[in-house]
């Protein structure tokens, strides 16, 4: 087959990794993985053999906190000493440009580590004149550059040369302005001070949207926590579970026969039919600290005897975030997927599946 025809059959690269652990193991990395994934737009919890919101989740779901939208915020205002002292050095501050496309537009994000990430096109990079590096997924001719500024660096203070240069670049040379999604987490302190920092006409407080539904007569795959590859006639593999979960969350019919005209997708074998399953969906700008609380409460769900053998927690990242896990660069090729899924078993073993698209690095 000639090279162009061969290329027609190539699907974009993607990655799905699966890790097994135990939630109560001292060296378990489940919380670290959640913490490293800063920007999350959707969290879904699926609990088989459950008809309504369990008691353990009530407080976690009620306590999701608020996030904020700040319209037309110039990036240089994130360099203000007062902002850095109040929100970046204390607690965890998350900011992500809203409604920008990572494959077309300039975008910005602030990580809780204090790193300000700017993902800009070639023209903007040259106009800004700040030091950065070409995007890893830019091809032979770099058309996208990443600039990282550490706001908590000891050298980065208002009297220093570095700060003056960055401020001049972002304020006068090439002012950048975005609508930002913001959240701040500080254990022990009230979370309302972001609201008082920005002008009232610029900032809006929002709560994540929560929806509940009960699925009836759901076919669920049989899983064994120590059989990641599945065992013929006994349990399903992690990939089969991952695809099945996608089918459930997208309301795909699981009942097709192989000769069906429309669809041949079926629930993987072996499976059992459960009378009911509880599905909770949270959308918005959800910070890792809240997801860790949810995860902890889901582990507590099994502290009392339950019919369910396992439950799942699925988290979708923002397609247009400049980073996936930690500071790994994230891009949008044909899709911007960066998501992860926990399967928590009765004995608190867990599977953690992390999925990434073409313009992405392997997760840590």
């Amino acid at each position: 087959m000639s090279a162009p025809l061969r290329r027609l059959q190539q699907a974009p690269r993607h990655l799905l990794v699966c890790e097994k652990g135990h939630a109560r193991h001292a060296r378990s990395r489940h919380e670290a993985h959640v913490r490293d994934h800063a920007y999350n737009c959707r969290v879904s919890v699926l609990i088989p053999e459950c008809g309504m919101l369990p008691q353990v989740l009530k407080s976690a779901v009620a306590d999701l906190g608020e996030y904020y939208v700040v319209r037309g915020l110039p990036v240089h205002q994130l360099l203000d000493l007062e902002f850095i002292e109040c929100f970046v050095r204390k607690g965890s501050c998350y900011a992500l440009a809203y409604n920008t496309r990572i494959d077309q537009d300039n975008t910005a994000a602030l990580l809780p580590t204090g790193k300000l990430i700017l993902s800009v096109d070639k023209d903007t990079y040259e106009e800004l004149g700040l030091q950065g590096h070409p995007s890893r997924y830019s091809g032979k001719k770099p058309m996208r550059y990443i600039i990282t500024i550490d706001l908590t660096d000891s050298n980065f203070h208002p009297d220093g040369k570095k700060h003056k240069r960055v401020l001049w670049a972002l304020k006068e040379k090439k002012p950048l302005e975005f609508d930002f999604l913001l959240a701040w987490y500080n254990s022990g302190a009230e979370g309302s001070t972001l609201m008082s920092y920005f002008p009232k006409n610029q900032i809006q407080a929002l709560k994540p949207k929560v929806t509940f539904s009960t699925l009836r007569d759901l076919q669920c795959p049989v899983l064994q926590s120590n059989e990641l590859e599945g065992k013929p006639e006994e349990s399903c593999s992690t990939e089969e579970l991952f695809e099945w979960l996608g089918a459930v969350l997208n309301q795909v019919n699981l009942d097709n026969v192989s000769s069906s005209f429309l669809s041949t997708y079926c629930c993987p074998q072996p499976n059992t039919v459960v009378d009911q399953a509880f599905l909770c969906t949270i959308t918005g700008f959800i910070i890792p600290e809240k997801i860790i609380q949810l995860l902890e409460q889901l582990c507590c769900y099994f502290s009392e005897p339950k019919l369910a053998q396992w439950l799942t927690l699925t988290v979708h990242g923002f397609a247009d975030s400049p980073v996936s896990w930690r500071e790994n660069e994230h891009g949008f090729h044909k899709g911007g997927e960066n998501l992860y899924n926990f399967v928590i078993f009765r004995n608190l073993d867990y599977w953690l599946q992390m999925a990434l698209g073409t313009n992405d690095d392997c997760p840590p």
């Binding site: 290329r7 027609l8 059959q9 190539q10 699907a11 974009p12 993607h14 799905l16 737009c41 959707r42 879904s44 939208v69 809203y98 496309r101 809006q204 929002l206 991952f242 695809e243 979960l245 996608g246 089918a247 969350l249 997208n250 309301q251 795909v252 019919n253 429309l262 669809s263 041949t264 997708y265 959308t283 918005g284 699925t314 979708h316 990242g317 923002f318 397609a319 247009d320 044909k334 899709g335 911007g336 997927e337 998501l339 899924n341 999925a355 698209g357």
Partner: protein, 71 residues
């Protein structure tokens, strides 16, 4: 594969929004997307297909941050 045809699954079809989720084998991804793009007529009526989201993971289609609407 039968001749030049590719088996495609219509996993979901929502009449209200006229949206569907299709599944195809990886090797047929480019062909299917191209075919949808070039499909301009159906039974002598003009039509157009717009691809909203693609992913190798069905689960990724459940959450599209580009459609996140803030109140």
């Amino acid at each position: 594969q039968v001749g030049a045809a590719l088996p495609v699954d219509v996993l979901v079809y929502e009449e209200k929004s006229l949206c569907a989720v299709l599944r195809v084998v990886s090797g047929g991804f480019v062909k299917l997307w191209s075919a949808l793009t070039l499909q301009g007529f159906y039974q002598n009526r003009r039509c157009a297909f717009r691809v909203l989201q693609t992913s190798p993971f069905l689960l990724a289609l459940a959450g599209n941050s580009r459609e996140l609407v803030l109140d």
